[in-house]
């Protein structure tokens, strides 16, 4: 450190200052939003019954926590999301690999993939309930429908746009197709796969909540559904806020994981 010039130290100081400023403004804007919300409800500009308030959300969280339900709902939702994420990532990478391996098969299934990906999966909700039953399975199934096709298409696209020179080089050493796949196609698309997994976790989350709204007896999607049925807007908004926190948390974990693997 001591070898850095004064100019460089100044530069680092400036960067740190900038970073502190961003964190400060982020916190301030969040506090401002919460404050305005609380204030508008207190002053009766907004209807408490329809819009809840930060303090009510907090009370609901505490209440849920005390009745021991909160963790269970959160745990169920996260568990389902992680499971769907795992399965759809595995399917995405391996099916994309199979399609890379067999170009003819890829051409044959291309229109099916496109249609399946574009199809609004909610439309399949009733069918899924009939086929799979109103259980955790149908929630996972819904999430997989939403996440898997996108991940297959995404990862396959990056597989086939692998730098051609790398493949020619491997062929010039008489590499087998398997060697080309594992030594070039996979590692050269490492970043693309991570990016696709990042999208995938979001998609799995969406799918799980959608599934919970349709069928479940537990989970945050269920809380929202239940809350709206008994017209407990407080509960609905609390669940939505928790979803927001979980989303941020998942993003945070993935980001940290990515940085860790990169090094």
């Amino acid at each position: 450190m001591s070898t850095f010039s004064k100019e460089h130290l100044e530069f680092i100081k400036q960067k740190k200052k900038e970073k502190r400023k961003i964190v400060l403004f982020r916190t301030l804007s969040l506090l401002l939003f919460l404050g305005l919300w609380e204030f508008s409800v207190k002053e009766k500009w907004l209807n408490t019954f329809l819009f809840s308030s930060p303090s009510l959300v907090l009370q609901t969280v505490v209440k849920l926590f005390q009745t021991n339900d909160l963790w269970e709902h959160i745990f169920i939702t996260i568990y389902e999301t992680v499971l769907s994420f795992g399965i759809s990532s595995f399917l995405g990478i391996s099916i994309a690999g199979i399609l890379w391996w067999n170009k003819v098969l890829a051409k044959v299934v291309d229109p099916y993939l496109t249609v399946l990906n574009a199809l609004p999966k909610v439309a399949l909700g009733p069918l899924i309930i009939i086929w799979v039953g109103a259980s955790t399975n149908s929630i996972i199934f819904m999430a997989l429908l939403i996440a898997t096709f996108l991940s297959i298409i995404d990862i396959y696209q990056s597989f086939i746009s692998t730098e051609n020179n790398y493949i020619t080089l491997m062929k010039s050493f008489h590499a087998t197709k398997k060697q080309i796949f594992f030594q070039v196609v996979l590692p050269s698309n490492y970043q693309n796969i991570i990016n696709s997994l990042k999208i995938n976790i979001g998609m799995s989350f969406i799918g799980v909540i959608m599934g919970e709204l349709l069928v479940s007896k537990k989970g945050l999607g269920y809380l929202i559904m239940y809350g709206s049925q008994v017209f407990n807007i407080n509960l609905v908004i609390t669940a939505v806020v928790i979803l927001g926190v979980i989303s941020y948390f998942m993003y945070f974990v993935i980001d940290k994981l990515e940085q860790k693997i990169k090094r």
Binding site: L169, M170, K171, F173, Y190
Partner: protein, 248 residues
């Protein structure tokens, strides 16, 4: 003794709309430890010939005979194509790794090459931290690592600036001579061809044939940089320039 015999080679490329006749009739022979350059108009099929010789592509007709059974070809492509996710050392071992479990002595040989050609301190670095000339040398070591009988070099210096190119051509020439390799090099730089080769094949426009073959005889032949000062150098340059028949 001739190590390679190419006779009446032709190659056509097809797509649904058209057929491209790249090579029409290519014949030549090559001696052991000979250095041959190929020059010709761009798009005439020089890279095509190399990829056929290396087995990457199939000829439409004609024959290729190697005097040795299982003659090993080392192909140095136009782009260095070093894998950015592997270190310099790992990049050099790719060819060997593809062949099977890497022998200890092969590893030692690669380390010797890295040491000899000034890359040993960079062996655990990633390619992005190397200069263009260093990258090209790594690509050459990667090709040499599999101990090829014949080296094919496709415009190995074309991506480099003039000074690096001159210095590296000297290096590569010395490496090839020292390791006693036979080499075919494609280039569009006449001076490079004359100063490095024993013979030069001139290709015609597409569909190409071997228009002419020059045996390069220089008094006081040494390394490429020095050869440029030989009295015959300019004569060859003028002759070949005329053969290429460049119209602007």
């Amino acid at each position: 003794m001739s190590i390679l015999k190419v006779a009446h080679l032709s190659k056509n490329y097809h797509d649904l709309k058209d057929e491209i006749k790249a090579l029409k009739d290519i014949s030549f022979e090559m001696e052991d430890q000979e250095f041959i350059s190929i020059v010709g108009p761009s798009g005439c099929g020089k890279s095509t010939l190399l990829s056929i010789l290396s087995g990457l592509d199939k000829a439409s007709s004609g024959t290729i005979e190697f005097s040795k059974k299982n003659c090993k070809i080392g192909y140095m492509l136009q782009k260095d194509s070093l894998f950015p996710w592997k270190t310099v050392y790992e990049n050099c071992l790719i060819g060997l790794k593809i062949e099977g479990p890497i022998q200890e002595e092969d590893k030692k040989e690669v380390l010797r090459l890295l040491k000899t050609y000034g890359l040993y301190e960079f062996k655990d670095k990633y390619p992005k931290s190397l200069s263009g000339g260093m990258r090209q040398r790594v690509a050459l070591i990667r090709t040499l690592a599999i101990k090829p009988d014949i080296l094919l070099l496709d415009e190995p210096f074309s991506a480099l600036d003039y000074q690096t190119r001159l210095a590296l051509s000297e290096d590569v020439y010395n490496i090839i001579k020292k390791e006693k390799k036979t080499a075919i090099m494609v280039t569009h730089d006449l001076a490079e061809a004359i100063s490095m080769s024993n013979r030069i094949l001139i290709f015609s426009k597409r569909p190409s044939t071997v228009k002419k073959i020059y045996k390069v005889q220089l008094t006081n032949r040494k390394g490429p940089i020095n050869n440029r000062k030989c009295p015959e150098f300019n004569t060859y340059y003028d002759l070949i320039w005329r053969d290429l028949d460049v119209h602007i």
